[in-house]
Structure formats: C-alpha cells, structure tokens
C-alpha cells in the first residue's frame, strides 16, 4: 500500500459531513474506505456517525448505506448480507460485495452487544468496526462500558464523593475473540498502516470479522482538534490501547512501543481526567490506574506468545 496510490483512489466517503473538527471516526472511515477494492454496503448504528453523515437530503456516502437503529447495526447488516447470499445463489446478482458495519462504543459494547454477538456467532461474512471513543458522545458524554476508569462523564460526574467512573473498561476485543470468529483485531487511527492492513485482512476473511478502533471524541476527551491523532498515538505508546490481532485463534501483538510512556502522560492531556491532577494530584489512584494498564499489558503479552 503506497500513499501515492491512496491519494489517487476515489473518496467513497465525501466531505461535507457534520462531524466536529478533530473527530476520530471520519479519519477512521476514510482509512477503511480507502482499503476497499470491491463494492461494499455500509451499515451504521445510531450515533454521531449516522447523524452527521446521513442528513436527509444529504449523504456523505458514495456507497450504499443503511442506518436502522442504535442497537442493531450488526443484525441489520446481517440481513443485507443474507439477501446478498440468496441473490447470488439464485443467480440474480454476480457482483462480489462486502459488508461493513460501524458502531460507536455505546452501540457496540453496550446496547448493541447482543445483536453483534448473534451476528458474529451466525457466521455472516461481515466486518464490524467499533469506533471507540469511550463514551456516549452523541447524547452528551455519558459513561459507557468502554469509558476508562477515572473519567469524568455526565453520568459519572466528579463530585465531592466521586472521582468519575469507578469501574474499569470492558475488554470488548477479548469478548469478540472468545466468539472464535476467524479475525479479530484492535487498531488505532494513529497507526494508519496497521489499521488499513487489518481492514484488508478482515475484508478478505471468509466469515465474520471485528476490529475495535480507538477514535477519540474531542468534545469528551477535551483535546484540541489538531491533537486527536497524536493523543491516540500516546495511548498506544502507553500500552493502554495495544494493537493486536487474533487470526484464526492465533494471538499476535502488532506493535510494541520502544519506550512505554507513563499512563498519566496520556491522562493529563485530556480534560475528562483533569480532576485527577487538579487542584491536587490523586497519586494513589494514578498509581492504581498505571498498575491496571501494566497488568492488562502483561496479560496480553502472555496471550500473544
């Protein structure tokens, strides 16, 4: 994959959408769509993605696109894929088409988990991509099960008796790997080549595939628009968001930072964690959070041996 070639590919996802400057998912979609080399149908869960890219009478999608509801992107695209299978079998269609569904962490980790699990278990040839920004961003930054511990959200607000979200995040990528589907990966918009390689692999997989991608919401993370990608890179370097893949049951680490940066470096750059450092530093909690990152990282390394 050469950069030169990528710039020459037609944009299947056009500009003019209403996502915020510095939002993570448009970057993700553009990277994913630039890998696509067969026709695709895209599905999406309700969320920032659907409401900013498909506003009647406008659409940013130059491929067929369907949004149904919040919790059913996976089931919906599985229906489209089933129709495709019938049409192919009955000779009503000859084109090779691939199917991609996008959902935020709210629509994927939480309300849409059942629909996703069912779709993956049934073996549809679908790529499901979660754009994980760690909150219900579209409704105004409420906690999700992907929200990191300690984050200030509107439903886990910091107060006299609260330091934000108490529970650690759920590891959805592991849950999907435990479905025993042929391809599961975790990626980040900062590591574009890795993300594109994984997308390509997933699209070539004859069966269900899942990629979990860190893609920030700058409103909830509280960073400047120009820092979005850099902030994700810092997350990867801190090992709180490792890049790995599980291909036919084989675990592989895709990136090992030369120097593992302290987790608090990443935390400090985001307003959602400001209360951990101001007015006084919550040293005990920060150490605890670092220990949690270290523990998870070591556990992943043992899986990837």
């Amino acid at each position: 994959m050469k950069l030169q070639e990528l710039t020459e590919k037609p944009d299947l996802f056009t500009g003019g959408h209403r996502a915020c400057a510095g939002c993570g998912f448009p970057i993700l979609i553009r990277l994913v769509m630039s890998v696509v080399d067969t026709p695709v149908v895209v599905g999406a869960a309700t969320g920032c993605l659907s409401v900013t890219t498909a506003l009647y009478p406008y659409s940013s999608w130059r491929v067929p696109f369907i949004h149904n509801a919040f919790e059913n992107a996976a089931a919906t695209i599985s229906g489209v894929e089933a129709a495709y299978c019938t049409f192919k079998r009955r000779g009503r269609l000859n084109t090779e088409i691939r199917f991609i569904a996008f959902g935020g962490d709210g629509g994927t980790y939480d309300i849409g988990l059942q629909s996703l699990s069912g779709t993956m278990e049934r073996g549809h040839r679908i790529l499901y991509i979660c754009y994980d920004n760690g909150a219900y961003a579209n409704t105004g930054i409420q906690r999700s099960s992907a929200t990191p511990r300690g984050a200030n959200t509107t439903t886990t607000p910091v107060g006299k008796k609260s330091y934000g979200k108490i529970r650690p995040r759920k590891n959805l990528t592991y849950i999907m790997a435990d479905h025993g589907i042929p391809y599961v990966a975790q990626a980040a918009i900062s590591h574009w080549r890795d993300l594109m390689t994984k997308t390509k692999k997933a699209l070539e997989t004859e069966g269900p595939s899942f990629i979990n991608v860190m893609a920030p919401c700058r409103l909830s993370w509280g960073n400047n628009p120009q820092e979005t990608v850099d902030l994700v890179e810092e997350a990867v370097n801190s090992c709180c968001w490792p890049l790995f893949e599980v291909e036919n049951g084989k675990w592989r680490l895709n990136f090992k930072p030369k120097t593992k940066t302290p987790y608090h470096h990443w935390l400090r750059r985001q307003t959602r964690f400001r209360h951990l450092f101001h007015p006084t530093e919550n040293e005990e909690l920060i150490q605890d959070l670092q220990a949690e990152v270290d523990r998870n990282w070591e556990e992943l390394l043992s899986r990837c041996q």
Partner: protein
C-alpha cells in the same frame, strides 16, 4: 367469504393454522426469513426450517438471537430488495416494537405471521389481541383471520399488498394463538405454481445491493422533512385500502375465495349487530343463527382489516343497525373501552344516523367465549337501542 370452487385442483388437507402458514411460506419461498421462536408462533419457523433442511425452499434463514434482531435483519434484507418474512407472537412482537416503526418508516414490505397471544404480566401463552393492538399505530397493515384457511389465504395476499408500489408497507397477518394456530382444520391449499404466479416476482424500486446506484437508507430528518415523510406513510395507508380490496377480489377470481375489509354475516336486514375480529367471529356466527331462530334480526360484522381502518365501509356496513356491540379481545386500560371500540366510535361519530354502540372486553389470556356468551351480548342490544340502558365499556366472562 368463501364463494364457489373454481379450481378443482385444490387440495383438501388437515392443517393447523401454523402448519398452513408455514405451507404458504414454503410456496412463496421468500428470499430471507429472520425469526426467533416464541409460543405459539414457534411452529411456523420450525416447520419452515424442516422445509429448508429438505431442500424444499432455498431461503436464507437467519436464526437470530432475539425478535429485535429478527426485525432488524428483516429491515436490512428488505432494504436490499429481498422478499422477507418473519413470524412472532406476544412478547416477541413487543420486543420488535421499536423496529416495527422503522420497518414501515423505511417502507420495507416485510410480511409478518403474527400469532396473537396475551402480553405479560402475568405471563400467559394464550390468545388475546393485546400484542398486535399495542403496535396498531406502528405503520403496519394488520389483517386478522377467522380460521386457518383465512390465515393461509391472507399470508399469500399480504405479499402482494406489501410489495405494491403504491403501498410499500409491511403487513402483519394475525391469527388467534392456539385457537387457530394449533387447531386442526380442513384447509384447501393452492398448488405451488398457483401461489407463485399469484405473488409474482418482487420488483423493488431500490436496493442496497445496487452498487452502481448507491442509496442512503435511514437518514436523519429534522423538522424540515420528518413530517412529510410520516405524512407519506399515512398516504400509503390510504392507498393500501384500494390495494387490499383489489388483491382480495383477484384472489377470489383466481381461487374462489374473495376478501375485503369485512365479512358481513346475515347483515343484510340485521337490526342488531356485533363487530368482532379473529376466531370469535366463527363463534358469533353460531350465536347469530340461534338468535335468528328466536326471531331476532341479528347480524355479525367480522372485521378483517384493522389497519388501515375502513371508515367509509364501516359506516355503510352498519347503516341499518339499531344497536351494535363491539367485541374487543384487548383492553386499552384507559377506562374508555377497547381499541376496536374506540376506532368504531370515532368512525361513526360524525354520522347523523348511527347505531347505539356498546363495548365488551372479553377473552383476555385465552378465556373462552361461547355462543351462549355472545347470545347474551345480542340480547342486551334491544335495551340499548330503546334507551333503557346506557352504553359503557364492560367486561365479558370475567370474575368481578
């Protein structure tokens, strides 16, 4: 409703409602079925799975993990241009409720075989119409059957009605749980080729799989377009009235059993009428016959189509009545009567000459209703017509 046999080739067989509906599904051989088991509708997809296992159909059957996903997958498949079917009941329909609205809003001509069952709590698996009445404003056409034969015929017609370009709305084909779904009856099945010719090929105007002409389905409407799009659904419902009658008549021409909004039983000279839906209509016919013997000019109006609601036709059909009772197998719990009662009253309100109307909520959770119960309902009507009794919603067959 059943006129004469024009086609001698029809098979007379013993089938339950579920079996007859599954048989219709086999004959239609839809592109996609997505369904989740629930009593008493389970058998439909269970039998259909058997057809699939034996290679009698080549449908893509999506064995979803819930009814919500069943309807969601149906919507995806329908937007892809597939002919899509599902079956459910009760709690399953309630779980689908959110996406039922989306199916009609996105103009997906999905056909749903609905086996009417009570809603929890208390949990109950037997018949009433609470489940379909709860989603009566979801933009789905609702057709109710009196028996297995009608359930079979309705399902075949539903495909044509749903997919009509003037309509493009989903259709719910309703039959009473256990009473019809599990009752064994003589059913006249059509030949496969007759069914296939009648339903014809699905010709969707748009498809997600038309990659040369990409469409966006399910976009966000703000205040500038939402109202117009919803208004178009109402318009489609209006147009569906013509299509429902046209398809019902054509079915009659082809197969000798024609259908409309109602079946009037001895309504021509009736003074006292009952309006009912589903299997109770069969019971009411027995009551009408008994009362006629006793000299009462009793009649029955069996409502087949609840959505769209046939207002003009109802006005005409009830013109000669002095008094009528509306039988509701569901309660709105509004203390203002059942859903059918409210519809009937609204439809007739503007008429200068209209019958006095009473309402009976009956049969919840499968509580049996007998010809004797219905005779009592009729016998109250002359008092109502004479002004001796005030009309008010009441409950029939319950221990108060």
């Amino acid at each position: 409703m059943i006129t004469q046999d024009k086609l001698k080739a029809e098979d007379f067989v013993a089938r339950t409602g579920n079996e007859a509906v599954a048989e219709a599904m086999r004959q239609i051989n839809p592109d996609v079925v997505a369904a989740y088991p629930i009593t008493p509708a389970t058998e439909i997809v269970q039998i259909f799975s058997g057809f699939l296992a034996d290679g009698l159909v080549d449908t893509e059957f999506i064995t979803v993990e819930s009814e919500h996903s069943a309807m969601s997958a149906c919507i995806g498949a329908s937007a892809a241009g597939a002919r899509v079917m599902t079956a459910t009941s009760s709690q399953g329909l309630s779980l689908m409720a959110e996406v039922l609205y989306i199916a009609s809003g996105l103009r997906c001509p999905i056909v749903l075989a609905e086996v009417n069952r009570a809603l929890s709590a208390p949990i109950n698996i037997h018949c009433d119409h609470s489940d379909t009445m709860a989603v009566r404003d979801s933009g789905w056409i609702q057709i109710y059957a009196e028996n297995a034969q009608e359930a079979y015929d309705n399902l075949i017609q539903a495909v044509r009605i749903a997919e009509d370009q003037e309509v493009k709305l989903p259709v719910m084909v309703c039959m009473d749980g256990f009473i019809i779904s599990h009752g064994l009856e003589v059913v006249r099945l059509l030949k496969d080729v007759q069914v296939q010719r009648f339903v014809g090929p699905n010709k969707p105007a748009y498809s997600l799989l038309d990659v040369e002409y990409p469409i966006t389905v399910g976009a966000l409407d703000f205040t500038d377009f939402y109202f117009e799009h919803r208004r178009q659904i109402a318009e489609a419902m209006e147009k569906a009235k013509t299509v429902i009658c046209k398809v019902g008549e054509e079915f009659g021409v082809e197969f000798g059993r024609s259908y409309g909004f109602f079946e009037g039983y001895k309504m021509e000279d009736a003074e006292y009428g009952v309006i009912a839906m589903g299997s109770t209509a069969g019971t009411a016919k027995v009551a009408v016959d008994e009362l006629r013997k006793k000299g009462m000019r009793a009649g029955l109006l069996k409502l087949r189509v609840f959505r769209p609601f046939p207002v003009t036709e109802l006005i005409n059909a009830t013109k000669g009545l002095k008094a009528m009772a509306v039988l509701d197998r569901a309660d709105t719990l509004s203390t203002n009567g059942g859903p059918l009662f409210q519809e009937v009253c609204t439809a007739l309100y503007a008429e200068d000459h209209r019958p006095k109307i009473n309402n009976y909520i009956y049969g919840l959770g499968g509580r049996d209703i007998t010809p004797f119960d219905l005779e009592k309902v009729y016998q109250e009507l002359p008092k109502l017509a004479a002004g001796e009794e005030k009309a008010k919603p009441r409950y029939l067959g319950v221990r108060e």
